[in-house]
Symmetry: C2
């Protein structure tokens, strides 16, 4: 039989050797981050490298040094690229060097943040309190750190569903709700909201997509009419979702108007601020999210404009009791003691889906202390200013076309040399973007607005400087000019 040596362990046989390797990892990691500007934003993964990973699980130890060597050779050169100053795809933060050290420290302590009486839980409580400050929520509201905006929206909508259904949804299920619960959000709402509605059993058809105006903001009058129609048809309007910056264009709904409407109509008001809630930190743009502080629940992402590494987001719920009642179970093996390890009031597992939870709070706590909130706000303002600079550069070129005015930090544009149909321009720009990625020069992403494919630069990047913007413009024009006309 495979009897282990008595002292077999997952701790290293040679602590000093592993410690040296860890120091090497620090140096390699710091070199990687200090040199990020000198590398391509992104490069394709060679098929031969992918094939190296088509191996069954090793049964025997290969040791930490060898495993680390494979990481350096196979993985490190072919990352996503969102650490780079000219990465502007989707809506991602960069991460920071000190927060990465924070993730190491979190893993060393390795507490389970589901509950219990230990200091890491108090760190999360403080971080949640700071999120309340940012949003303008009262101290007695509740909150939870979660993996990202998808889960934050899920939690907020779960609380809304359970507290407004008029029946005991947890026990009886959605089928017991007398009238169909209807949720409203603009057509620009993030897809994760639909996923949450589906997962909660409410059905995507219960999510009404409200038209937007020319600035891609929700049409509040249209929303009011839809509520009246649904009520007349015997359905139960129950929740309105306001976008604090949309993923497509960065537009922010009139949150104050939505809050007033929800007050009057007795609807749950949820703000999806995954992108834009942190605008509250930005002196030049905090007016955009006025009204957010009146919501019943708010989502904010911390791995976007707070730039902590993935994953970190927060959901806030005004009504702490409703929040806990949506998720707490407290089975016997989780019952509280008065003192000891299992005591304390901080049982975060009662406020969301997770029981075991990691110490994601630490990197947030360290980052906010390192930089102070004001710096994050200034950098948000700077990204927005950069988006306007980029838009001006686009508008100055005859063969580039800005497709929508810049609302915040997102620039949607296309290469348009003239004389081509929208369909031809779509094909041209699609190929252009791929070649731009392959060039390693810059990495915007793309979307489609009114049927027109566009390059989409979402500047969520503290490493971007104004000098990076003409680099993008030049590369797009050069690649565009080099492409065969469709």
């Amino acid at each position: 039989m495979n009897n282990p040596p008595v002292d077999e362990s997952l701790d290293p046989a040679d602590w000093e050797a592993l410690r040296r390797l860890a120091h090497q990892a620090i140096d390699d990691g710091f070199d990687y981050l200090q040199g990020v500007r000198d590398r391509p934003v992104w490069q394709p993964v060679p098929e031969a490298i992918v094939q190296r990973l088509r191996q069954p699980a090793p049964r025997l130890p290969q040791g930490a040094e060898s495993a680390y060597g494979e990481f350096k050779e196979l993985v490190m050169p072919y990352a996503m690229g969102n650490t780079h100053p000219r990465f502007w795809s989707w809506f991602m933060g960069n991460g920071t060097p000190f927060a990465a050290v924070g993730d190491f420290l979190a893993a060393v302590l390795n507490p389970n943040m589901g509950g219990g009486n230990h200091m890491p839980n108090h760190v999360e409580a403080q971080v949640v309190d700071w999120c309340k400050e940012i949003v303008g929520f009262p101290a007695e509201s509740s909150g939870l750190l979660v993996s990202g905006g998808s889960m934050a929206n899920f939690v907020g909508l779960a609380v809304a569903r359970n507290s407004r259904a008029g029946v005991d949804v947890r026990a009886e299920g959605v089928a017991a709700i007398p009238r169909t619960l209807i949720t409203y959000a603009s057509v620009e709402v993030h897809s994760c909201v639909q996923k949450a509605i589906e997962s909660l059993g409410l059905g995507a058809r219960s999510l009404r997509k409200v038209p937007v105006d020319a600035g891609f903001e929700i049409d509040v009058d249209a929303l009011e009419r839809m509520i009246v129609e649904d009520r007349a048809a015997g359905r139960q309007p129950f929740c309105v979702i306001g976008n604090a910056a949309t993923i497509n264009t960065g537009a922010t709904d009139d949150l104050d108007a939505l809050a007033t409407l929800c007050d009057r109509e007795h609807l749950w008001f949820h703000v999806d601020g995954a992108i834009g809630a942190l605008l509250a930190l930005a002196p030049g743009h905090r007016h955009l999210v006025r009204g957010m502080e009146r919501a019943d629940s708010v989502t904010l992402d911390l791995h976007k404009w707070l730039h902590v590494p993935f994953e970190a987001a927060c959901v806030l719920v005004r009504d702490r009791k409703a929040h806990r009642e949506a998720f707490a179970l407290t089975p016997e093996y989780l019952e509280r003691t008065e003192r000891g390890l299992a005591s304390g009031a901080l049982w975060f597992s009662e406020y969301g889906l997770q029981l075991s939870r990691g110490f994601r709070a630490l990197k947030v706590w360290l980052s906010i202390k390192e930089h102070g909130l004001d710096r994050f706000g200034r950098l948000i303002d700077r990204n927005i200013a950069q988006a306007r600079e980029l838009a001006a550069l686009v508008q100055a070129e005859p063969d580039l076309e800005l497709l929508v005015p810049v609302a915040t930090n997102i620039v949607c544009f296309r290469y348009n040399p003239g004389g081509l149909s929208d369909e031809q321009l779509n094909a041209l720009n699609e190929e252009l973007l791929i070649r731009l990625h392959e060039s390693g020069i810059a990495a915007p992403s793309y979307t489609t607005l009114h049927g027109r494919y566009c390059l989409r630069a979402a500047i969520v990047n503290y490493r971007t400087t104004s000098a990076d913007l003409p680099v993008l413009v030049s590369a797009v024009r050069e690649i565009g000019a080099s492409l065969p006309r469709p």
Copy 2:
């Protein structure tokens, strides 16, 4: 106005200073782990320390050195304690030093694992393939790394719900399902399953709790009778959950019998192997999970017996198409290109709730390479052997009482000096456990079996040696003898 200096950044002004701090963190972290045995398992957090965290968010930078100093002073000494050789509470792994370095490296690269063409996604794909190997699932099945067993069970049950309901649940909602979907699991099922059922809108009343036998394993005959009754009453049995090791006692249901039943009755078979799926690695105990490989979906936790730091678990689904169809949305801004950053087949966001996802795969990948799967299996066997040793020590003492035979690695016992009622013993043992925690000597948790409060040692700990077990026994007897009789 607060115009930032042109070069303001979240990167350090002095890279070398921050690099030195990171090296200091490595040394402090390694010292912490090397010295873990010399510290108390757990110690209460002084109220004065908690008060230090009752501060509003800093607006101005305090710098990384100062933030790190606060972490060392306020947080590091007061962690949960699950790194310690005599921590046996709930069911938690220790974490490992090299995996903690892995979390640093993951945060340095900081890829978004929602999708896209980059090497970190291939690492996750390989880790998921390795999980299939462990469980015995076919290569063409699908899987996803998630935060923990709660989310893995949620995903598995969401796929079950959506693929077996007979209507388009995603569009129409649970209310459109013609007959109530009924899920079955033993009374020992983990509470997170109920939470998943509730969140999915099926209602906790649709979760039938099946009785267990004397060994706390599901009574399959009773289950069959319940299915017949539900069908006769017009309800729709649709899913059976088998426990691969329960949280209370470590018992494992007869998974082979459940698989056969589900085959015959056309029910979805989900195995909650958060605790026990990794028994498949243990030469002495893999027979316990025979039948798991026949499931439709399986949950396995990697932050338990694989000892990677929180959070890491995996859900596997036999039917890849059903898995994707339960979650994929593919809105326009996530559409695929053929080449470039947004290309590739690995869009993990289509298989779960999260869109943005962190690189949790890296620590798993590094750990499995470092140690090889066989070592983890041997250490699981060793923990189970240690549980039997502990049970024997308990049984050898006249004032200790073993409350249930040891199924795997969980020992449930109490101090029982004789002459006291169950009620009195409950109060006595509750106080005893708190004082044991406060002593810092050892940290079992507790549960209640047939109304009897017991100390519960779940040995999921590669640092535990046989010499640690009599330390617990002595401490329990000494504290027990010192307590005033109720």
